[in-house]
């Protein structure tokens, strides 16, 4: 539910972009700092190695050699700041190793602990000469930068190693803090962007709800326009302009249909009236018959005209609904009573299964015409002796009316567009407006109609209308 909202998606993407950006910036800073630290240690290492090599070369190789070189090395290691961690261990470690190539004498070692692990690490690393390299030493958390320096004429190589743990420690601390801050900021950013996006989009949602509520009945309603002219209030203004246009075209359509109705009805009324009064005084049976037929045709023309105008209005959403609560089962039963003899005459069997107490808020006269259209449709299209099943049920807040027959069903050529105007089967006697009218009326009331084929053959028309009361009323 939450994940389908635009506010959620917008804030996720902003947060992602933000986190990615800050992460990248930190990574660059981290790499720069780490490189600076390494360059600094490397410069120190190279310098010290040079000094030590000089001292080693200049000191005569007697019994004092180890002591002198050892002292110098010791002094060199002291040049580093004496930083200690919380457990009191020295953070910066330096070692010095002078090793004879032939391995005759034991190597000279100045550094923490035994020289063995360092020697093993150096031998495994295959150090080049002059350039410092990182070497992992067993038992030490950070690698040592080690430089190798051969001493000419002595067959000896000295190694100087530095583990700049204090600086690395600072860098690690920095990274840890950054990660915490980073997470916090991303979360805060997400919350802020979600809240602001949600606030903005709630206004859009409000517009959507209001516009959905503005139906054909209350086209006069408008969205509230706030004073600040941001995108959303412009959206509301655009909607209002659009509603103005819709309202004016609906009004135009209504006045046109009213004018057509009025202009046609006045002459028809006088023609019909004149014919009818002629009928009363005309003794000749043959004439009376002709006049009667003329009146009947006039009535058919009028019903066609009325339905066409109603349809035009309904399809434009301009149908005027005079709504009131109607108990569906009652009204349908009344129509079934009315149509029963006509059904009997065609030997149709009508089975009604109507759930009572279902009240819909509809225009009664439109609903009546709709129900009679549905029944007329059955009468007109079924061959004699069919069975018509009419069911009325409550279905998820709606009243569902299903009319099912075991006739030939809808001809395939019209099945997909049976609700369009003037669409009818070749054999159909009607004018093709009946179902179009049903569809228009149901839609005007916020319902839906669909037709389908019964598996065993026959047509099914399913109609649903939003109900206002579904439960039996307790009195």
């Amino acid at each position: 539910m939450l994940r389908t909202t635009a506010a959620w998606r917008i804030s996720i993407w902003t947060t992602l972009a933000f986190a990615l950006g800050t992460g990248l910036a930190f990574a660059i800073v981290y790499l720069l700092v780490a490189q600076t630290i390494r360059e600094r240690s490397d410069a120190w290492l190279s310098g010290e190695a040079e000094v030590l090599a000089q001292v080693s070369a200049d000191t005569p190789n007697d019994h004092l050699y180890s002591r002198i070189v050892g002292e110098v090395a010791e002094l060199a290691t002291r040049e580093l700041p004496d930083e200690r961690n919380s457990q009191g261990q020295r953070l910066n470690s330096v070692f010095f190793l002078a090793e004879r190539l032939d391995g005759n004498e034991s190597p000279l070692w100045v550094g923490p602990g035994s020289s063995e692990v360092f020697r093993k690490a150096i031998q495994g690393a295959n150090l080049g000469q002059g350039t410092p390299r990182s070497i992992n030493v067993e038992g030490w958390p950070t690698p040592f930068r080690v430089v190798a320096r051969p001493i000419e004429g002595r067959e000896t190589t000295i190694y100087l190693g530095l583990s700049n743990q204090a600086d690395m420690h600072v860098l690690h601390n920095l990274t840890g803090r950054f990660l915490q801050l980073w997470g916090g900021t991303a979360l805060l950013g997400f919350l802020i962007s979600y809240t602001s996006a949600r606030r903005t989009l709630l206004r859009v949602e409000h517009i959507t709800e209001t516009v959905a509520r503005i139906g054909s009945e209350d086209l006069g309603k408008r969205l509230p326009e706030s004073t600040n002219r941001d995108e959303i209030s412009r959206l509301a203004q655009t909607f209002n302009l659009m509603l103005d246009r819709i309202q004016s075209s609906v009004n135009q359509l209504r006045s046109v249909t009213d004018a057509v109705a009025h202009d046609l009805k006045s002459p028809v009324t006088s023609i019909r009236g004149t014919l009818e009064s002629a009928l009363c005084c005309e003794p000749n049976e043959k004439w009376r018959d002709s006049v009667g037929e003329a009146i009947e045709n006039l009535d058919r023309l009028l019903s066609l005209l009325n339905t066409t105008l109603d349809l035009a209005e309904a399809e434009a959403g301009a149908l005027r609904l005079d709504r009131g609560p109607v108990e569906l089962a009652g009204i349908i039963r009344k129509f079934l009573d009315l149509y029963q003899p006509a059904m009997d005459e065609r030997h149709h069997e009508v089975v009604a299964d109507l759930e009572a107490h279902m009240v819909v808020n509809v225009d009664l006269s439109l609903l009546s015409r709709m129900v009679s259209n549905l029944l007329e449709n059955e009468l007109a299209h079924l061959p004699p002796g069919c069975c018509i099943h009419i069911r009325l049920r409550s279905q998820q807040g709606s009243a569902e009316l299903v009319i099912e027959d075991n006739g030939p069903g809808f001809p395939p050529e019209i099945a997909s567009r049976a609700f369009e105007r003037y669409v009818k089967g070749n054999q159909s006697p009607g004018h093709g407006l009946g179902l179009a009218f049903v569809d228009a009326v149901v839609k005007a009331h916020g319902g839906a109609v669909q037709i389908s084929e019964r598996p065993a053959g026959g047509a099914v028309i399913t109609l649903s209308l939003p109900a206002i009361i579904l439960q039996p009323v307790l009195t």
Partner: protein, 225 residues
Amino acid sequence: MRLLIVEDDVAIRGFLERALSEAGYQVDTAKDATGGELMALEGIYDAFIIDLGLPDMDGLNLIARCRAQGGSAPVLILSARRSVDERVKGLEQGGDDYLTKPFALAELLARLRNLLRRPSPAHNDPVRLEAADLQLDLVRHEARRGDQLLQLTPQEFSLLEYLCRNAGRVVTRTMILDHVWRMRVDPATNVVDVHIYRLRSKIDPVGHAPLIQTIRGVGYMLEKA
């Protein structure tokens, strides 16, 4: 009985005047609201027939103005609008009536009779109805043709009762639907006809001329004698 017709369409005015005169009313006509109002204020009319769409004033305004000046005669409103608006329906509750154009003359006459009869409704509410050799007992819901008891469904009885009450006059299908089924809809197919055929088959003995006559283009009529 004296009627005033206020209608701007000359053809409609003409045939209404003719038909109503033939039906035994004294008829005056006006072609607009101004003229109609002046005539109405004379206070000599028993009923008015007023068109809603008058050129100079809305028919409803005319009625309101007449009422405001003390006119109390019932009004039959003629409307060419397809949907009948609230105000017109309100008038119907106030004792007046409306008809949408085009209307059947038979229905206009029936509604007019109804409007004019209104002051004493309870008086002539019979318990028995008779037409030709047909007798209806409205209390026991029994119908007899001669001395033959007819087997009718409640619906058929209501239909026959309505025809009997209007014996000798033409009733339209719309009127039958309105009074017997309480539906104000236009009959599209022959639903009402089928009911009449059924009723005929029950009330007419074999070989007899039908008691209920079909008036083609208009409706049905039960013979009075």
